[in-house]
Symmetry: C2
Subunit: 308 residues, 2 copies
């Protein structure tokens, strides 16, 4: 069993989609990553920060799933990071209505002693200086450091982002961000350019259009499972990252072949996440459902063809 | 060896992309379909119409590839259909600068006697009344009728389109058109609605995002091969349709399993088509290149995963 260290937000989200809206519910990148990773045989810990408005029930959801929250700092008198957003009708774009950083403004992650030798570090979307600070606290080089980021940091902290990217193994970003980061429209060329920045692997997330995994001379593609209804895309990318890093930590094998499986596991879990608001679907997910849907993924993509 | 009947435009195109521009070159849906289908062991014929400005060299390109052009009408004193377009920088959208219907305005396809028993009929994008006219001339029901269409006919001849769709087996359209035709955003739901209109199979083309094949209870997905450079997307969809229908005519098997292979063959050939202007790449394509790229498709998509 591998050790997975997760760094990212634990938050309140208020979400509006064409299908309905929520009050403040459990959200945040580290939340989705942790819940997805807990589907695998891993020891995982979350480093994050919340206020004392964060309910015990939510904390219990983590500990019940064997997720170590020793390093989830609870600030007395502080308020938890809050995001409110509204999705457009096609669910492919959204407007952010409210962002209250609250306790996150002073987040200074401290890696717990028991996780300074983690096998896999999954750095959720945060300021790149915060992400780098976590890497620098590791007492030995993790087998795999995975970093997720977004265009906001390319616009506002590019040099810091380029610095942390030097130290990682896998970069996960979406297609538009890959183009922005590299100035290359072709995703193949974009990935090649990212390799010169440090990472050995690039995962390009295309939302409903699937995900691409690149190493220097191989490409693998996993589609998103076509669904009758996408209810709420919030957290799909983080759920993907959690399935990906959780599987890799559990299997302790970062070959390209095994990373392909990790991509499929991540896509599979993300396909559940979007079926209900927030974390609702992930909290009730059963092993049998996961297995059945993996089978659907195989049917969706596998073929036999004669190569004469 | 099966018989494939192809109906569609044979045309002059003038194309401008960010990488260059052409004068009038060989184009048209039936051209791309025919060239792609000729990669398989089929007897094929094109029904179309051109003017006597259409060069003998172009006609020879068809006959050299064993494509029957008896039913390619050459109108004396007439001019060949001409399309001129300019692609935007991302190559995902384009402006039509010139459309001269010319002889195509009076196109009244006549199915040659030798093809009234064709196994597969591939109806390229044309007025749905013209497409229906071809079906009505068949002396026995083809094993498979494939129809390609576009939003223009949904906007301008919807009732005619709905009529011809009743008589076909496979509808190929792009994702936006599937949504327009059905009013369903989810492609899964859109396909289900299209089944109630007549077809047993729906192929939804997503361009650089691949293609989905649906029957009533199965889905298959094929990605587009990620390329370093897409040079000219003109004809990619028709090349896909030609590879799809050509393979199905050659293999005489319209099971879902075999249709999956047809989708891969179509995607594979389309990946070449976009590498050069117009038909240039397709005219110089070698068997070995096709086989090697099929191998790339397998590597891109195939994985082993344990289903515990």
């Amino acid at each position: 069993m591998g050790k997975l260290l997760i760094v990212g937000t634990v938050a309140f989200d208020a979400i509006e989609t064409p299908f309905g809206k929520t009050d403040k519910i459990l959200g945040g990148a580290a939340t989705y990553i942790g819940l997805a990773a807990s589907q695998f045989e891993v020891d995982s810990a979350i480093i994050s920060i919340v206020g004392d408005d964060f309910p015990q029930d939510y904390l219990d959801l983590f500990t019940e799933r064997n997720i170590d929250i020793t390093a989830l700092e609870i600030v007395k008198g502080g308020k938890t990071f809050f995001w409110k957003g509204k999705y457009h009708n096609d669910l492919n774009s959204r407007d952010t209505l409210v962002t209250e950083l609250n306790t996150l403004a002073d987040f200074n992650p401290v890696v717990p002693a028991a996780y300074k030798d983690a096998d896999v570090v999954m750095l959720g979307n945060l300021h790149p200086i915060v992400q780098l600070g976590v890497i620098n606290q590791m007492k030995k080089r993790p087998k795999l450091i995975v970093l997720d980021t977004m265009n906001f940091w390319m616009d506002n902290a590019l040099n810091d982002l380029l610095e942390v990217i030097k130290h990682i193994d896998v970069l996960t970003i979406n297609d538009e961000e890959a183009r922005q980061l590299t100035g290359e429209y072709s995703l193949v060329k974009a990935a090649q350019k990212i390799f010169t920045m440090g990472p050995r692997f690039v995962v390009i997330k295309k939302g409903e259009h699937g995900a691409l995994l690149f190493n220097e001379d191989q490409i693998f593609f996993a589609p998103a499972l076509p669904l009758e209804e996408v209810f709420d895309p919030t957290g799909a990318g983080d759920t993907f990252a959690g399935g990906f890093s959780g599987y890799l930590a559990a299997s302790d094998d970062s070959s390209f072949e095994n990373m392909k499986k990790a991509i499929i596991h991540g896509s599979n879990l993300a396909s559940f996440s979007v079926e209900k608001f927030g974390t609702e679907r992930m909290l009730k997910l059963e092993h049998k459902e996961i297995r059945n849907r993996l089978h659907q993924f195989k049917k969706l993509t596998q073929f036999e063809i004669e190569l004469q």
